[in-house]
Amino acid sequence: MRNNKFMRLFHYDMIIGFRQNWLKLLAGLFLLIFICGVTMVYLGENHGGVMYLADILKGAQEYIAAGSSEFTLPVVWLILHLYILFIVCTFPMNDLKGFGKNILLFCADRKKWWYSKCLWIVTTVTGFILVLWIVMLALSGLSGNGFLGKVAGADELLGLNINTHNIAYMFLLPLVVLIALGLVQSLLSLVTNPVLGYMASIVLLCASVYWKTPWLIGNYSMLLRLSPFTHGGIPVWSGLILCSIVGVVCWLGGAVVIKKHDIIN
C-alpha cells in the first residue's frame, strides 16, 4: 500500500510534470534537432552519428592561463547542459507552492513527495539524453553514414579517442552528471528558490570548464577531460562515484530539509 502511494505520486509527477513543461520540452526537441543539424553541417557529412555526438559532448580542453591563451566557453555543450537543467528547474517548487500542497495533504508524507520529485528529475534527464541520441541516430541515418560511421578520424578531427568500447561512457557520464546537478539544484531550490538553484548550476558548469579538477563534476561531462577519450584525462570511475555521492546526498538531504520546511506561498 505504501509503495502504491509512492507510485501514484510518481504517476502524478510524470503526467503533470510533462503537461506543465510541454512547451519547454518541445522547444528542447527543436533545440536538439538544431544542434545536431548544425554539428553535421559544421563537421561535414562524412561521419557517423557517434562522431557528431562526440563533437557536441566534447566540451573544452583544459584551460591553462598563460600569456596569450584565452578562456572560451564551449557554447554548444553549455547550452545543451543548461537547457536540460532549465527543464527540471521549476516544476518541483512550483508544485509545492500550488497544487502540490493539496497533493501533500492527500499523501500525508513529505518524504515520499520529495522522492517522487527526485525520480521525476532522474526520468526527465534520462529521457532528454535518450532523445538527443535518438535525434542524432535519426539524422545520421538520414544522411546515409549510419550511427557508428568512421570513428577512426576522431583523434585528428576532435582530439578524442573514440572506439566501440568507450561509446557507452559518452551516454553514461553526461547522464550521471546532469542527474547529480539536477538534484543539487532542486535541493538548493528547496532551501532558497529555483532561480538561485539554477544559478548554482550555471556557476558549477562554468567553473568546471575553467578548472580541470576531479572535484567539479561538470568535468565528467566533457569528453575532452576524460581518460577513456584523451591521454591524461580524469578517470571515469571517480566521476561515477562522485556523481553518485552528490546525487544520494541531495536525495537524502532533501528528505531531511522537506521534513522541516514550512510550506507557505
Binding site: 501514484r8 507552492k97 497544487f99 501533500l104 495533504l105 492527500f106 500525508a108 508524507d109 518524504k111 507557505i264
Partner: protein, 214 residues
C-alpha cells in the same frame, strides 16, 4: 479525534505570528476562529494541517506529535486561503487526480461531492474559466470529499452567494454530525457564531481565552 495544542508558538522571519497557544479540540464539534487580518488565524490553520511546523510547543493528534510522529494529520481536508488547482483541468479532473493518491473514493463519490457543493460534475470547463465562487466551491469539495476526520476551512464562504453559503453551512453541520472535527475561520461574525459550537478569538497571535459560547 482529539487534538491538543500545547504552548504553541510560531516565529516567521523574526516575527511572532502565534504566541503560546493552548487548546484542546475534540471530534463532533465545529470550532470557530475569529480575529482581524494578521491575527494568526491562517497560520494556526496551516499548523493544524501540517503545512508549517511550530517554532515552540507541539500539536498532538490522538497522542501523535505532528512533525515528530506524523507529518500531517492522518485524515485531513483543508481549504486554506485561495484554493490552488490545476488550471488546465476541469474541477472533476482536479479532484480525481487528488483522490487517486489515496485511492479511497471512486468517481461516483467525487461527482456526489461536486453536486453537494453546487457544481456540475459534468462541466468540462477548465478550472481557469471558473468564477471566484466556483473556485471556492471546488476548494470546499476538495476539503470534504474523502470525509476526513479533521476539516480545516479558512474563510469558506468568501465569494459565495446566499445559496452557496447555505450549502456550505449544511455540509459543515452534516459532517459535524458524522463526528468530524471542523475548524473554521470566518470574517462574518454572525455566520461564525451560528455555525460554531465554540468560538475562539485571536488577536496579534494570542488566543483570547474566555470562549464565546453559543
Amino acid at each position: 479525534m482529539n487534538i491538543k495544542i500545547n504552548h504553541l508558538s510560531k516565529v516567521i522571519k523574526g516575527v511572532t505570528v502565534l504566541d503560546d497557544i493552548n487548546l484542546e479540540l475534540t471530534s463532533g464539534k465545529i470550532y470557530g476562529l475569529r480575529g482581524k487580518n494578521g491575527s494568526g488565524k491562517t497560520m494556526l490553520m496551516r499548523l493544524l494541517c501540517g503545512l508549517i511546523l511550530p517554532s515552540k510547543g507541539s500539536i498532538e493528534i490522538d497522542g501523535e506529535v505532528m512533525g515528530k510522529d506524523i507529518s500531517f494529520p492522518r485524515s485531513v481536508g483543508a481549504l486554506i486561503e485561495n484554493p490552488s488547482f490545476l488550471m488546465e483541468y476541469s474541477g472533476f479532473e482536479n479532484l480525481r487526480i487528488l483522490a487517486s493518491i489515496k485511492g479511497e473514493i471512486d468517481d461516483q463519490q467525487i461527482s456526489n461531492t461536486l453536486s453537494a457543493v453546487g457544481l456540475d460534475p459534468n462541466d468540462k470547463r477548465h478550472y481557469r474559466k471558473y468564477s471566484l465562487g466556483m473556485k471556492q466551491r471546488l476548494g470546499i469539495a476538495c476539503a470534504v470529499m474523502e470525509s476526513p476526520e479533521l476539516i480545516i476551512l479558512d474563510e469558506p464562504i468568501n465569494a459565495l452567494d446566499e445559496k452557496g453559503v447555505e450549502l456550505v453551512k449544511h455540509i459543515m453541520l452534516a459532517l459535524r454530525d458524522k463526528d468530524a472535527l471542523i475548524v473554521v475561520a470566518c470574517h462574518d461574525a454572525e455566520e461564525l457564531e451560528y455555525l460554531s459550537d465554540e468560538v475562539f478569538n485571536l488577536a496579534e497571535g494570542k488566543l483570547q481565552y474566555g470562549k464565546a459560547p453559543i
